[in-house]
């Protein structure tokens, strides 16, 4: 197998006395959908924040595309090819849907220290923006304010913004959370289409979706990765079954 696009070594983080990330060793390979599952409070979002740079680890290293990014800023990691969505949609609510996408396109194209020309009249921006709007199915809603569209549409918009930079690694934090069955299917379909084009690190509670989408799965329990493998291996792993015993999630 090729080298992992993202790997962590002995990654650790504690908030005061609470250890939320305890020597995590994770490898995400190019083109794979790698799901990260675990009970509530296992430290999944913390791990994503460490990977994307919103938190700095107490110890350990992170390597992305062959570069040590442990102390790299959030924007620098993004420019290196990392994009993410958040558990709670993180958008520019007073911007229109189109403006949200346009800004995402602008961010990865040329300098934003341009004080005169309008990005909404620049074909280099509107072109890719139109494609992205179609791709995530928001063409009809382009002129609506991002804060006013439905929850599911906001999630789609966030994915659209994340795709603008053609990232090498897409980090998705519970993209299906709070979605109805139809929207969840649409989201799963969208993620499936991305499979192979980029590495995807997916945190998700919807186990049906996880086992349907993921190439490999890592199980995080109390800040440690207790197992990594294909869906069947994870299902049959005794430690995993034990960790989930008594919780509502059934594998």
């Amino acid at each position: 197998m090729a080298d992992p696009i993202l790997s962590s070594a002995r990654l650790a983080k504690a908030f005061g006395g609470l250890v939320v990330c305890d020597g995590v060793e994770l490898g995400v390979y190019p083109g794979e959908i790698h799901a990260l599952i675990g009970p509530n409070g296992a430290g999944k979002t913390t791990l994503l924040n460490l990977i994307t740079g919103l938190l700095t680890p107490d110890a350990g290293t992170l390597v992305f595309r062959g570069r040590d990014i442990t102390n790299m800023s959030v924007p620098a990691r993004a420019r290196l090819g990392m994009a993410r969505s958040f558990q709670v949609s993180s958008l520019f609510p007073s911007f229109t849907v189109r403006e949200n996408i346009e800004l995402a396109v602008q961010a990865c194209q040329g300098s934003s220290y341009a004080f005169w020309r309008r990005p909404d009249r620049d074909a280099a921006i509107t072109g890719p923006a139109n494609q992205l709007l179609q791709r995530v199915g928001l063409g009809e809603l382009a002129q609506r304010k991002a804060g006013e569209i439905g929850h599911g549409e906001q999630r789609q918009l966030e994915i659209g913004m994340a795709l603008a930079s053609r990232p090498a690694l897409l980090v998705l934090d519970e993209p299906m959370a709070g979605l109805g069955p139809a929207s969840a299917r649409a989201m799963a379909h969208l993620i499936q289409q991305l499979q192979g084009n980029m590495a995807i690190l997916l945190v998700e509670h919807d186990m049906d979706a996880v086992f349907a989408l993921a190439d490999r799965i890592s199980v995080l329990v109390q800040g440690r990765i207790i197992a990594t493998g294909k869906g069947r291996e994870i299902r049959e792993n005794e430690m995993v079954q034990e960790a989930y015993l008594g919780t509502q999630c059934s594998l």
């Binding site: 993004a78 958008l91 602008q106 309008r118 990005p119």
Partner: protein, 339 residues
């Protein structure tokens, strides 16, 4: 094309506003109220200062309570250079070649440069803080400058100092009050044009995005700090120019120009007129200054009347007076919601 036609009422209202400002000196003359011309000129100058605050407060979401400091730097640049020009002494004793001057083309760019420099130095520190801390730290920097000028006895200390005349500009007699009015109007219109381009540019988009959601901007690969600092310096430079104009208009400077209450007044102009709306601060500056003038005719306790007025506007028009005037027109924000 249809969109353009439906925008017309808003465009007409804006054009009417500019026309009113153009004919205002003549109107005042016809009605025998020439004494109001200097107030109108001051309102134009404060419009410039408030518009520059709007860039960082309205568009950038940075609640700065130290904007008067930039005006003060601009004003004192004019006064100090003029002072040394009268006395034919060097500005700094150890740099004898640096003489004072009254040339606007030298003094005003210098005023803008020094204000921008002050913005850069204080912004590097202040912009690392958020919310209430940012308000307090900008306030603190401005007060430091206030006390500095209060203690400079050479330049009048707390009494301030008068100028013997206005700066000289080739081709325009700034000593003529009507010409000064039109000059300030031109500067304001040019600045608003520049700002309109700025807020719609790539830079402006990132600035507004940083106000809305800084984390998202970072995750998209942009560092908000540089955009905020740049806009802070631009706003500082424009406010510095406003200060230089104000010193010329009143032919007087004093530390009172950079007291924090003055910063508060500029902020009220922005909020009253309408934040993140291009011409909002202009409306705010004129309404506030003229209300002060007229209310003061009736009672010396005019603030008792002004206070409730401000509260009513803030409660019932979140976009300020600008939203009351423009939003219901076709093409306005309210109209768009309904249609």
């Amino acid at each position: 094309m249809k969109a353009f036609v439906s925008m017309r009422p808003r465009l007409l209202l804006s054009v009417a506003g500019v026309c009113l400002l153009v004919v205002l000196p003549r109107l005042l003359e016809l009605t025998g109220q020439e004494y109001l011309l200097s107030l109108a000129t001051r309102a134009l100058i404060y419009s410039l200062a408030a518009a520059s605050l709007n860039l960082i407060l309205g568009y950038g979401g940075m609640v700065s309570l130290g904007h008067a400091a930039f005006m003060g730097i601009g004003a004192y640049t004019v006064a100090i250079l003029a002072h040394h020009s009268y006395e034919s002494t060097p500005v700094l004793a150890f740099l004898p070649f640096l003489q004072g001057t009254e040339q606007a083309l030298i003094v005003w760019p210098l005023a803008m440069l020094l204000s921008a420099l002050f913005a850069l130095l204080t912004g590097l520190i202040a912009l690392r803080t958020r919310g209430m801390h940012f308000i307090m730290i900008t306030l603190a920097f401005a007060q430091m400058l206030f006390f500095l000028f209060t203690s400079l006895d050479t330049y009048g200390g707390s009494d301030g100092m008068s100028l013997y005349g206005r700066n000289t500009l080739p081709g325009i007699d700034l000593g003529n009050d009507t010409l000064l009015y039109y000059f300030c109007l031109t500067v304001l219109v040019l600045f608003l044009f520049f700002m309109q381009r700025l807020v719609r540019s790539r830079f402006g988009r990132v600035l507004e995005a940083s106000r809305e959601n800084e984390i998202r901007v970072q995750v998209l690969g942009l560092a908000p700090f540089g955009f905020k600092l740049t806009s802070y310096c631009l706003a500082g430079a424009a406010a510095g120019l406003a200060g230089a104009l104000l010193a010329n208009q009143g032919e007087f400077v004093s530390p009172g120009m950079l007291h924090w209450t003055r910063s508060g007044e500029i902020m009220v102009m922005v909020i009253l007129g309408g934040m993140a709306r291009l011409t909002g601060p202009v409306i705010g500056a004129f309404v506030l200054l003229f209300l002060e003038e007229y209310l003061a005719m009736f009672t010396e306790h005019w603030m008792i009347l002004l206070g409730p007025f401000l509260i009513v506007v803030v409660l019932f028009a979140r976009g300020g007076i600008h939203s009351l005037l423009f939003d219901r027109l076709p093409g306005g924000r309210r109209a768009q919601h309904n249609g």
